[in-house]
Point group: C2
Chain length 273, copies 2
């Protein structure tokens, strides 16, 4: 893979990389389409990375459908699908990791304290193998995007990071491979996340800029549905992810809610008038 990337680079091609964990949905496909436009050599990887799952999380049951993924990626005319092998990526004696001090201590990092260490480590590994000029990550995983941008800057990785828009179902549910965990009864409940974000947006438009009040209203809305357990609802600085009390500048509202066995996340940028 590295030899191929060197060859591409020597021949002047721009390598665009879309890393995924497979079980692709329209969100992934929109990143792949964006990638197709940005470079001559489009590489899509599929790898369910064990080190970003904690014991008890859904690593073993994470949904997979390789044949379908391959067909979908081929349709988008990617140049290469890269399936690294778990044993090759994490060989005997593996012990090096890439981690961050502050950004993983917010949002999803609070209930998943080892998650982002797993993400930054695998992303550096994949970057070193694929050697892209450009890499694309979805904005649905907003914290991941912020963390990767920071990592690229801090480690002087010569890679341009592009954030791809969240793709939603027709009713507004953010697309996620984990939506497949939802039962038919839970599916309408899952919309509570998007509704809570819109509620926040509406309150801000009405002149309410007190983050605590907005969070309380959104929280109430989510709790009014059965079968939901809120992990967090936060309004924070979009770069540092530190809590904001008053929305006097652009803010990120982000939330994680368990609906049945699906842990769902969503976010929205809130812009005060």
């Amino acid at each position: 893979m590295q030899e191929r990337s060197d060859r591409m680079r020597r021949s002047g091609k721009t390598i665009v990389f879309v890393p995924t964990m497979g079980f692709l949905h329209e969100g992934h496909l929109s990143l792949i389409r964006e990638g197709r436009k940005l470079g001559d050599d489009l590489v899509v990887s599929i790898f369910v990375n064990p080190t970003q799952f904690a014991p008890g999380e859904d690593f073993e049951s994470y949904p997979q459908d390789l044949d379908r993924d391959i067909a979908l990626i081929r349709k988008e005319k990617a140049d290469l699908i890269f399936f690294p092998n778990q044993k090759e990526l994490y060989s005997t004696g593996f012990q090096t990791c890439v981690s961050q001090e502050k950004l993983p201590k917010h949002l999803c990092g609070l209930s998943r304290p080892t998650f982002f260490k797993g993400v930054t480590t695998i992303v550096v590994k994949l970057f070193n193998i694929v050697k892209p000029h450009i890499a694309i990550f979805g904005k649905k995983d907003y914290q991941q995007l912020v963390i990767i941008r920071r990592m690229v800057k801090d480690l002087n990785l010569d890679i341009k990071i592009i954030g791809g828009q969240t793709v939603r179902e027709s009713d507004g549910l953010a697309m996620s491979s984990r939506n497949s965990y939802l039962t038919p009864e839970q599916r309408p409940v899952a919309l509570a996340l998007f509704n809570a974000l819109n509620k926040a947006k509406a309150l801000l438009a009405d002149g309410i800029n007190d983050a605590a009040k907005i969070i309380a209203a959104s929280s109430e809305l989510i709790k009014s549905h059965g079968n939901t357990v809120i992990d967090y609802i936060t309004i924070c600085d979009p770069e540092t992810l530190e809590d904001m009390k008053i929305i006097d500048r652009p803010a990120l509202m982000a939330l994680a809610v368990n609906v049945g066995k699906a842990r769902l996340i969503d976010n929205m940028l809130l812009n005060p008038k």
Copy 2:
């Protein structure tokens, strides 16, 4: 710098990189000469990396002589001397690090617990900036070499790591920028490290393969000199750095001794008959 490296790579040149903290001695120069033979584009960096010094260590007083260094590197016909800027490498909000779980918990890592985290982080940064095909590190800093080899493997860095032989003064003292801290009275005492290693080698040749006995004899030899404080003397596996009790296969003997205000290190591979 990254644009230059891309250009070199596109034109088919092999980039060889020798990272240093400056105040060059014959040890560094032998690495630079080795580098000159291995590639078409030889880059030598000079950067005293603050994050690998703990508070109270010698970061502020680390010896420097930039003009002399430049003259020495020019004489070896390096293609480029790279002096990164501290503020540029560690900008506001910097928070990403590369670390290892086990290897830094041995030898120098015991008394310098944050040292290798600083080393692995700066080396990844420099690798990402210089984009070398080959990088050279001295065997005098044996643990550093083992850690960097492990890091390169674990993070899939596409870089060949070469270990350069330790260069010694005529009496056997391993060359080190920190030898400049030695007073004329301390200079002969500093030879205790090399003598202790040779003592170990002689004992092993005499059929003594009990690590504890060899360490005790070497330790006694060092203590017989005034002005010495032993940090550690270890006989360990050359790859995992884990203690060996019986030298029944090739072993690394490594030691760190404070002579006056100079913390000196040295090591030797011990091969049983």
